[in-house]
């Protein structure tokens, strides 16, 4: 269990600044997820923590020691890659013990650690196979095992589940969460998948364009997004955004829609953010709209509403049947909306 501190970290690749003066503290035992769209610099940041990409300025501290210039093998990290990156010519056992052999670990200790990791990841039966003889899920298990045997203070995951199919992804996701609960190690996990981020993280770091947009618990980031980018990135279907005005009486009004706000906010142009699950279909609701599309999801339905030119999505549970073209009334849960500054996009 180690902590990781990044101070004013900047990374430049090929003359292009990727990360600019980034500060980040990862507490011991934390499962920190770096979440963002592709090209936001999250993978670059992880590789820089691993020592595979040099930082151009700032410092990286792992377990209280300055590791900015240390070799990847000296940083006390284990890493799992998206493409598994198993050594194709070695057996599963050799793959897992390679690092320990390089470090000159005694044979008995190597056998103990490999045995433990294999048992934890149900790899016992596969130890003498080559990577080519394994399925995708098994390969990624081996890759996780290879990181585990290092018994490192920090484990780094670079989109480890992206190459797997949906079912396997959900399965391995659960395994990873159990593994974290069992080991209690510090984990830093990069993904662009919000479901992985929400389910695994103790804290999520939302990144865009090389900068941190928000750091918080999954609930925090989802319920109280710091800006429009975070609000739009998390949640499916995405949060509804409605541009309008806030008047002096704490009333938000836009074309086809008006809402009395609960929180004190300054008057002026603003964007209202409403999660689809906070749009309630009620017979006596204050707002009116027409259904344009129904998406049945099994355990819920997504309704797309046209409300005087505004397009809103709503999640409804229950057996009611809706059809396109149907007019209905609805309300918005004013206590749970988010408001963003129209110009900066920051939360009001």
């Amino acid at each position: 269990m180690s902590n990781v501190h990044l101070r004013k970290l900047s990374i430049t690749l090929g003359g292009k600044p990727i990360i600019r003066e980034l500060d980040l503290n990862v507490e011991p035992g934390e499962f920190l997820v770096l979440l963002g769209p592709s090209g936001c610099g999250k993978s670059t940041l992880l590789h820089s923590i691993a020592g595979l990409i040099d930082a151009s300025a700032g410092s990286i501290e792992i377990d209280g020691q300055d590791m900015t210039l240390a070799d990847p093998s000296e940083r006390g990290i284990g890493m799992v890659f998206q493409s598994y990156a198993l050594y194709p010519t070695m057996t599963v056992k050799d793959n897992m013990s390679f690092g320990l052999k390089m470090a000159g670990t005694p044979k008995a200790e190597i056998a103990r650690r490999v045995g433990r990791a294999a048992e934890m990841l149900q790899l016992d039966a596969l130890l003498s196979r080559k990577p080519a003889q394994l399925s995708g899920g098994q390969r990624q298990r081996v890759a996780i095992g290879r990181a585990l045997v290092r018994e490192a203070g920090v484990f780094l995951f670079d989109e480890p589940l992206s190459n797997l199919d949906a079912k396997l992804r959900a399965e391995l996701r659960r395994e990873l969460k159990l593994l974290h609960a069992r080991l209690g190690s510090t984990m830093i996990y990069v993904t662009h998948d919000q479901v992985e981020a929400m389910t695994l993280a103790t804290r999520i770091v939302v990144m865009e364009k090389g900068a941190v947009q928000q750091i918080g618990t999954p609930a925090d980031v989802y319920e109280r997004p710091a800006n429009r980018f975070v609000a739009g990135f998390l949640g499916a279907p995405a949060m509804n955004f409605i541009d309008g005005e806030i008047d002096l009486h704490q009333r938000f009004s836009a074309r086809g829609l008006a809402l009395a706000l609960r929180q004190p906010v300054p008057a002026g142009a603003a964007t209202l953010g409403v999660r689809p699950e906070h749009v309630r279909i009620e017979a006596d609701g204050p707002l009116a709209g027409a259904v344009t599309l129904v998406e049945p999801m099994g355990n819920h339905q997504v309704l797309w509403l046209d409300c005087g030119g505004q397009v809103l999505s709503a999640i409804v549970h229950g057996p009611d049947v809706y059809t396109a073209g149907q007019a209905l009334r609805f309300g918005i849960d004013a206590a749970r909306v988010s408001l963003f500054d129209a110009a900066s996009g920051g939360r009001l």
Partner: protein, 305 residues
């Protein structure tokens, strides 16, 4: 149109409709076969003539008909070519040249492959500062004609005191083989996933350990390709061997030239043919037995993994 029809038709219907069998012999196909057979004949004819001539006695050769099969088969010309024919002053056949060529080719294949592999590995994974410039300079070397460098190299090796020796010719082959060997390995390694190298870095391998344990075991296909290129190149070389190898190490190609240009009395066409085939045998056999690997290696290098 085809794709649309296929998509619209449910799979269940497919067996019911008998698909028209593809016609085997369309005019285009026949044309292709005629062309291919013609091309094969064109390339095989000289070899055929050489083979039958080398198995005839001189009387039969003088009688004319170059394409005819031998009336009386004989391997005597082959025996003479191997152990009796005169290569300049001495008359011990071209076997001496054969062993000289083996002695030159072995180190001139192994050393350039090893160094080329290390070069390619360093350039594609470690990417030292100025790697691209370094690589450009090395490639530039491949475009300078050999003739330009012969005299400077002679002076250089003479200065070092090894001119006209086995180490000299091996060193020259090493230098001239380096650009292509490096290019070959660099491009092959560039097709390996970078993450593999990263994983090995984290596992604590240094420059040589990653090379030996992770990269080299993956290099078999490209090593085979490099070996084929280098063996054929070195074996077929004439000018470098003539200039740098020295009198005692003249390669088979130079000896062959001496055999054919030495005229004492009648020209022994059958012996000359046998000597030529013997000289060409090594590259020929190499292509024959490694064709599969050769194609695989080229494909492995060309397709990004």
């Amino acid at each position: 149109m085809m794709a649309q029809t296929t998509l619209a038709t449910p799979a269940v219907q497919a067996p019911a409709v008998a698909r028209p069998r593809r016609r085997r012999f369309t005019p285009a196909r026949i044309g292709i076969y005629v062309f291919l057979f013609g091309a094969a004949l064109f390339f095989l004819l000289p070899l055929y003539v050489m083979a039958v001539t080398s198995l005839k006695g001189m009387d039969e050769i003088r009688a004319g008909s170059i394409l005819a099969l031998p009336g009386a088969w004989t391997v005597e010309p082959w025996r003479q070519a191997w152990s009796e024919v005169c290569t300049g002053a001495s008359c011990e056949g071209i076997r001496g040249g054969f062993w000289n060529s083996v002695r030159i080719t072995l180190p001139s294949t192994i050393l350039p492959i090893l160094i080329g592999a290390v070069n390619g590995y360093a350039l594609s994974f470690w990417r030292p500062r100025g790697a691209n410039i370094l690589f450009g300079v090395l490639l530039g070397g491949a475009f300078i004609p050999v003739q330009v460098m012969i005299y400077p190299l002679v002076r250089l090796l003479a200065g070092a005191g090894i001119f006209g020796s086995l180490p000299a010719i091996v060193l020259v082959h090493l230098v001239f083989g380096m650009p292509v060997m490096t290019l070959l390995f660099r491009n092959y390694y560039a097709s390996l996933p970078q993450e593999l190298f990263h994983a090995a870095r984290i596992d604590g391998g240094g420059f040589w350990r990653i090379f030996l344990h992770v990269v080299l075991p993956l290099s078999t296909p490209i090593i085979v390709v490099a070996a084929i290129m280098q063996v054929t190149g070195v074996w077929n070389d004439y000018i470098l061997g003539l200039v740098f190898a020295g009198r005692d190490n003249l390669p088979m190609t130079v000896q062959l030239n001496n055999v054919i240009n030495t005229t004492t009395g009648t020209r022994l066409y059958n012996v000359n043919m046998a000597a030529t085939i013997l000289t060409a045998l090594v590259p020929l056999a190499l292509y024959f037995f490694s064709g599969r690997w050769f194609v695989r290696g080229i494909a492995a290098g060309a397709v990004k993994g």
